[in-house]
C-alpha cells in the first residue's frame, strides 16, 4: 500500500452520521449548558468583566466565603442534608462569579479557600464533594473530575467514572468510592457527586 492508497482509504471512512434533529438541537444544548453555569440571571449581551469589576468580584467572593464560614460552618453541628445544601449554595454562588475557573473549594478548620485557574478552562461537569478526615480533623473539597487535590503533601487526581463513583488516584495510593474500605491511606475518605 502506498501513501496515496492509504490517504484514499482514510478519506473513504466517514465518521458516523447523526440525525438532523441532533444537529438542530446541538447548538442549543451547548448554550443551555453555558446558561446553567452562569445562572438564570445571565444576560445574553452581558459585558465582560472589566478591571474595575475585579474589586467587586473579590469583595463578593470574600463576603460569600466569610458568610458561609461564620453563618453556617461554625454555627453548631448541622445535619448531612443541611451541610450538603450549604455546600451546594456556596458552590453555586462562587461558580456564578468565576464560571469555568473554580478548580476547588477547600473547607477546613481554617475556613473556606478558593482555588481558581487563571483562565476559564475548567471543563464543565458535576461538582464532586470529597471529605478527608484524620482523627477529628476533616477537610472538605468541592472539586471536579480531572482536578488535583493535595492531602498531606500528596497530590491526588480526582476522577469520576460513568457510574457515579469517585476515584482518588495518587502516586502511592488509590481510593474508590465503589470500594471505600479497601483504601490503604491512613485517612477516612468519603466522596460523592454534589448534585446541584
Amino acid at each position: 500500500m502506498n501513501n496515496d492508497e492509504l490517504e484514499a482509504l482514510l478519506k473513504s471512512a466517514p465518521s458516523p452520521e447523526r440525525e438532523a434533529a441532533y444537529w438542530e438541537g446541538f447548538p442549543k444544548t451547548v448554550t443551555r449548558r453555558l446558561t446553567q453555569v452562569r445562572g438564570p440571571g445571565f444576560s445574553r449581551s452581558a459585558p465582560r468583566h472589566g478591571p474595575l469589576l475585579a474589586w467587586g468580584l473579590g469583595l463578593a467572593t470574600v463576603c460569600i466565603l466569610v458568610g458561609f464560614f461564620f453563618g453556617f460552618w461554625r454555627g453548631g453541628t448541622p445535619s448531612d442534608a443541611q451541610q450538603t445544601a450549604a455546600l451546594q449554595k456556596l458552590f453555586r454562588e462562587v461558580a456564578l462569579l468565576f464560571p469555568n475557573q473554580v478548580q476547588a473549594i477547600i473547607i477546613d478548620e481554617g475556613g473556606p479557600r478558593l482555588v481558581l485557574s487563571e483562565q476559564p478552562n475548567v471543563p464543565l461537569s458535576d461538582p464532586l464533594l470529597v471529605k478527608i478526615c484524620k482523627a477529628k480533623s476533616c477537610r472538605n473539597f468541592i472539586t471536579f473530575s480531572g482536578q488535583q487535590i493535595r492531602v498531606n503533601g500528596e497530590a491526588f487526581e480526582v476522577l469520576a467514572d460513568g457510574e457515579g463513583h469517585v476515584i482518588l488516584a495518587g502516586r502511592h495510593s488509590v481510593w474508590s468510592s465503589a470500594e471505600p474500605e479497601q483504601t490503604q491511606a491512613p485517612w477516612q475518605i468519603e466522596a460523592r457527586a454534589l448534585k446541584l
Binding site: 501513501n3 492509504l6 471512512a13 447523526r18 446541538f26 488516584a169
Partner: protein, 183 residues
C-alpha cells in the same frame, strides 16, 4: 454559504456574550468538530461530550480570539487539546481499573466494516500521531496549519505522519489496492 464578514459579526457578537450569535457559530462548525472528536476517541458519546466542551471552552476563551488565526483552526486547537487530555484521563482510568474490556465496550463501531477497520487502526496510533493524521488527511489541513494547532513544528508533524502512516499501512494492508476490499 457563510461569508467571512458574517462570521466575523457572529464572533464579535459572541465576544459580547450574545448566545444567539454563538449558536450560529456552533451550527457552522459542529460537524467539523464532531468528526474530529469522533476520530480521536472512537466513541460517539465521548465525541459528543468533547464537542460540547470544545464550544463551551471556546465561548469562555473568545475574548482572547484575534482574527490573526482562522476561527476554525482556533476551534480545532481547543478540540485537539481536549481530546489529548481525554486520552490521558482514560489511560489513567484504565490503569486504575485494569479493565480494558470496559473500554473496548465503550467504543462505538461504525456500521460499515471497512470504516470500522480504519477507525480501529486510527485508535491504535499514539494520540499525537492520530491527531496529525486526522487533521492533515481526514480534514485536509496543511502541515503548517496542523503544526500551529498542535503547537509543534512542521518537522514534528511530518515525523508523526511518517510514523503513523507506517503503522497504518501495516494495520490496513489487506484493505489496500482493492485487495480484500470488503475485509
Amino acid at each position: 454559504m457563510v461569508v467571512p464578514d458574517e462570521e466575523a459579526g457572529w464572533i464579535a457578537r459572541s465576544q459580547q456574550g450574545d448566545l444567539e450569535a454563538f449558536e450560529r457559530l456552533i451550527a457552522r462548525y459542529q460537524r467539523m468538530i464532531h468528526a474530529l472528536t469522533y476520530r480521536m476517541t472512537g466513541s460517539l458519546d465521548d465525541a459528543e461530550d468533547l464537542a460540547q466542551d470544545t464550544f463551551i471552552q471556546a465561548f469562555h476563551a473568545l475574548e482572547g480570539f484575534r482574527a490573526e488565526a482562522r476561527f476554525s483552526s482556533w476551534l480545532y486547537r481547543i478540540a485537539v487539546n481536549l481530546c489529548l487530555n481525554w486520552r490521558r484521563r482514560v489511560q489513567q482510568r484504565e490503569q486504575i481499573h485494569q479493565d480494558l474490556a470496559a473500554q473496548k465496550a465503550s467504543i462505538d463501531p461504525p456500521s460499515d466494516e471497512r470504516t470500522a477497520r480504519v477507525q480501529e487502526a486510527l485508535l491504535k496510533l499514539n494520540p499525537k500521531q492520530r491527531a496529525a493524521v486526522v487533521l492533515t488527511t481526514c480534514d485536509g489541513l496543511s502541515h503548517a496549519e496542523t503544526a500551529r494547532i498542535l503547537g509543534c513544528s512542521e518537522t514534528t508533524v511530518s515525523w508523526r505522519l511518517f510514523a503513523a502512516r507506517a503503522k497504518l499501512k501495516r494495520l490496513l494492508n489487506d484493505l489496500g489496492s482493492g485487495r480484500g476490499g470488503k475485509a
